[in-house]
Subunit: 334 residues, 2 copies
């Protein structure tokens, strides 16, 4: 059994992350990680006729770049595990089309990148695959008109809202290689505290992030200072402060460095309200800034906790509350 | 390595399928498997205020019934792997809410049940989990108004169209137990032959089914007569005849018994055109009729090949072609 406790897995032969790449939109390029993304788009339509096609092209580009950086071709990739937040994850399945790899589509909302990493790690560590490509993406314009209102309406955004990140991230997991290793993870449970406001997803997701992080420390026996850096996915500033309070109530004091990819991705004054959201947010931040810091030896151990709000436009309109989920994965330098 | 060839896996310690259950709508109850479903609804709203809520309740009911039949409680279930064809798979994540199991959401369109079974088998066989609950569902009324037109419009249906099945299926995989065992599977690749007609999904999916079935026989070295029964998911009658031709062109002659759950689920005269479709179609047929036939010893070895059309309403409206996918899983009596 490779599981410790109820939800946590420690890989006995941790897969290597041998390639990573991120593609980001113009607004994200002007944010805090613009210098780290592998490709910054000047035009968020990426030369395509629709935002949906642009998102697909972004994810495809990030995947191709990650495979190239791993010094592989797609013939070396056993399977693609990917997802996004568009209806029926078409950005992902269309991006994977044309490649000769097995395809496993995932949906974990903005926690998808974590779900892909952990499942990919299990498939390699379990002896089923040698090399897996994990990817996730989101696009402000394709998401906004799908979940909320037509962009042309120019609806006012409430202060609690977040800005869907236009970005894609991809990593190549391999049974052999060198560099940072995916050492394990904690698979999340669905937590729903009854939040119904689709413009306050930080509040909907924070309890699930708390459950996952608390389980991770309890089951591994690690303290937060085991990691050099712990980042959640896209709680935003309000969600992050709420999570800090929830963890404190459970007796977990988090270090100063604990932060959230969504809260970090934009600069002050970029009018992103509580910060970034979307499946591409932590996917792109991990696949660029974090991976580069780890490869350069400036970070030794990180815990990434992608967070997802499991709503659809229909469920929100039918008054359903928003179930949250979070999956944590640990990456460590040898 | 537990993989043979490129896409096929043989489980060295095959998980047992220790419980299975299917819930079906009124039209499906009048079809060929009405006597085998565990619960036949008299009203397809299932006492709920929306069809989306009804689909969620159907999947929840099928899961609870499968767990009960396995003589377990949800506390014994390590993880739920589930998906459906509604936007953001809300039927599945809402149905899994409230349970204390890990949750991994999947999206493989109508091939989701196969994706869940194979991934669930890998997680158990790889030593990560002991018991996994796999589920998939679809609902005519929630799917139709999402993918096509408001039901109230009463649009005429073309002869090539299929009828989305109102049903949910769930199985419990376990590291120990008795009964039929999930012995392996072939994970599919995306195949897109350029079909753009969202009312002819059989044609869009048949090439992917052909690729998966051909790979399964080639990589296992088995002939079609290794199995007592081989069923695809929801190609419908036209898609099934197309698949037969495609396989014949590749030199694979299928036995008389080879059929398709979608083509089989309704009786002649039920006005379902080419037959049933939807993620719940083969999920429910496997979890009821097939599982009961196997448990009674009337079938020894079966190969189930759920088939999926990876489109969304938006991708169809934007003129994109429909990528197809299929995953095959084998179930054998000891």
């Amino acid at each position: 059994m490779r599981r410790i406790g109820n939800q946590t897995f420690i890989f006995d032969k941790p897969p290597f992350i041998i390639g990573a790449s991120a593609v980001a939109g113009p607004k994200e390029a002007k944010g805090n990680f613009g210098d780290y993304f592998d490709l910054n788009l000047k035009d968020d339509a990426f030369g395509e006729k629709s935002y949906e096609k642009a998102e697909c092209k972004m994810q495809k580009t990030a995947m191709e770049s990650a495979v190239e950086k791993a010094r592989l071709t797609f013939e070396d990739i056993d399977a693609i595990l990917s997802g996004d937040i568009s209806n029926q994850i078409t950005a992902s399945s269309f991006a994977a089309r044309g490649h000769n790899s097995m395809y496993l589509g995932l949906y974990g909302a903005c926690a998808t990148f974590g779900e892909a990493a952990i499942l990919g790690g299990m498939l390699i560590c379990g002896g089923f695959m040698n090399r897996v490509l994990c990817a996730a993406s989101s696009h402000f314009s394709s998401a906004e008109r799908q979940y909320r209102y037509p962009l042309e309406l120019g609806n006012q955004r409430p202060p609690s809202s977040q800005w869907t990140v236009t970005a894609a991230g991809a990593i190549v997991l391999s049974v052999n290689g060198d560099g940072p290793r995916l050492t394990g993870g904690t698979v999340g449970k669905i937590v729903d505290m009854g939040v119904t406001d689709a413009n306050n997803m930080g509040a909907a997701m924070a309890p699930a992030a708390c459950e996952c992080i608390y389980a991770h420390f309890k089951e591994t026996g690690r303290a937060p200072d085991y990691y050099d850096l712990i980042l959640t996915g896209d709680l935003g500033k309000f969600g992050h402060s709420l999570l800090l309070r929830l963890l404190k109530e459970k007796g977990v004091d988090m270090p100063e460095s604990f932060n959230d990819c969504g809260a970090m991705i934009y600069k002050d004054g970029q009018e992103a309200f509580q910060g970034g959201s979307g499946a591409g947010c932590c996917g792109a931040v991990f696949s660029s800034f974090i991976y580069k810091q780890m490869s350069a030896g400036r970070l030794g151990r990180v815990l990434i906790v992608p967070t997802g709000a499991l709503l659809s436009k229909t469920s929100a309109e039918q008054g359903e509350s928003i179930p949250g989920i979070a999956h944590a994965f640990s990456v460590e330098n040898p």
